[in-house]
């Protein structure tokens, strides 16, 4: 991704989510933190912070631990992890993704749909 493309992506994220922060991680990788993104209806809490790490291929995404699904259960195949010394929840969700055609905002929205599934 070029600097210009990244700037456009960042502007979109700010427009959609409001507060977006940036940090430099170990080895120079860039991390973005979105303060508040909506989870699917019925999840508790209704919003979560999101950590996004762009990288070649598919970005890495994490949310805050402690989310319960619309059925009240804890989501399966999730685990708390330490990312750069901070506590986040790692989760797995498969969906088609093409970095040349899709935006980071689309990636986040598609990823968070995982919490709408009662499993």
């Amino acid at each position: 991704m070029t600097e210009q493309e990244r700037a456009i992506e960042l502007a979109t994220l700010k427009e959609v989510y409001g507060e977006v922060e940036r940090a430099n991680g170990a080895g120079g990788r860039q991390l973005f933190r979105i303060g508040k993104a909506a989870l699917p209806a019925g999840c508790k809490p209704s919003h979560t912070a999101v950590l996004l790490i762009p990288q070649p291929g598919r970005p890495q995404i994490y949310v805050r631990p402690g989310i319960t699904l619309p059925n009240g259960r804890t989501p399966r195949s999730t685990t708390p992890v330490a990312v750069e010394g901070e506590n986040w929840l790692q989760f797995s969700y498969s969906f088609p993704w093409d970095e040349n055609r899709h935006s980071l905002m689309q990636f986040i929205e598609a990823s968070l749909r995982r919490f709408g599934k009662d499993e």
């Binding site: 960042l10 994220l13 700010k14 507060e19 977006v20 922060e21 940036r22 940090a23 430099n24 991680g25 170990a26 080895g27 120079g28 991390l31 973005f32 933190r33 631990p65 195949s77 999730t78 685990t79 708390p80 992890v81 330490a82 750069e84 010394g85 901070e86 506590n87 790692q90 989760f91 797995s92």
Partner: protein
Amino acid sequence: MRDLLTEVRVPSHLVVPLLSGISSPSWCEPVVFGLAAHACTGDRQLLLVKRIMPLPPHEYVPDPGHGAKWKGSAMIPILNDAMAQNLGVVIFHAHDHSGPVGLSDDDLRSARDLLPRFQNLLPGRAHASVVIGRDSAAGIVLGPSSDAYLSRLKVRLLGKTLRDLDNELLSEPILRDEEIYNRQGLLTGTRGERAIRAACIAVVGLSGGGSHVVQQLAHMGVGHIVGIDSDRCDASNRSRLIGMTSLDAFLRRRKTKVMARMVSRINRHVRFTGIAEPIPMKTAIDALKTADIVVGCVDSYHARDDIQGLAWRYLIPYVDIGLLIRPISEGKEVMIGGQVITAIPGKFCQWCFGFLSDERLASETGGRPRSYFKGTDKQAQVVSMNGVLASQAVSEVLQILTGFAPVDEEPSIKKYDGLSGTLTEMIIKPNPTCQYCTSVLGAGDLIWSKA
């Protein structure tokens, strides 16, 4: 109310460049610049030195009115590097004498001139001016985005023994419980006993290995033990969890509760903090950050990776123990092996020599992401063998705190053979290209800013 304490931590590979740089024979007081990340723990701010940059002799300007004066242009490459890596700047120099040291009036004037300039360039970082004596240190610190100078400061030089240069430690009152520890003190000395009493040791995993470690640390009189384990007792733990009773199993008490009770019965002056959360959770991470040493008694590579990452990020020595017993099965002979790995930041990490590897981590998740990790299979455990490794881990802690034995700084681990009952030292070849040591060591807290 006293100032927040600032602790400047220097990883072992930078200790010699720092000390030789500030003590080089010269016609003025030599200055060394450090580039440092920082982190906040519950009770202190850490400055984590990532790079040491001595000032070349030709950059000094003769001036009888100052201990050291240098050309302004000499700062340009240092500040460029600091900005490129987003790190704070620490100015080190030496006052070569024993006893408490302090910044001179000239040092203070210079620091109050330079530190705000550093802050203008790098507002999100802490900057400091530090004077190092033979057994103490002092200085002033300008915190991130703050205009208040902090003057409570100590310097920790990491090595197989921690060297704390601390004016306050020198003036500590007479030790408490001297009678209890007078036999131990014959080995460790007064300074060693002070270090033990002032230490905070985190023990991660409170079962077969960790409960032994906690028990011995309490007997040793460690000031503060942080026990981290989210599990509750069950009947199967009784074969090896020191201090556990049948009632603990019946009531499914938390292991942290059992440890708290055991510690208070051994010595009520030893503080125990139980964290009933696993390591990646925030409370556990925050607790681990406050430790001077972490002892890992965990049974998976993922858990070791988590501890290793945090220990390296905050420059905390990490003692790891592990036991593997393969009982006789399918014609194979019994095998009892284990290890005690004392990883000192700046020497080697568990990634350097392949004890941790992507393959080993993947083996615990079937090659899938971490979220598929289900824990390790139940393995054989025997209390006596857990005890051997735990005892050695506590001796390693004692060595790090007090330096009771003269040891060389060569990187090594100890391998355990349970059949012969021996611990054998194995020299580890340092790996200068270890990506983990290059990128994570001393990284500190993330610094977030508006995108």
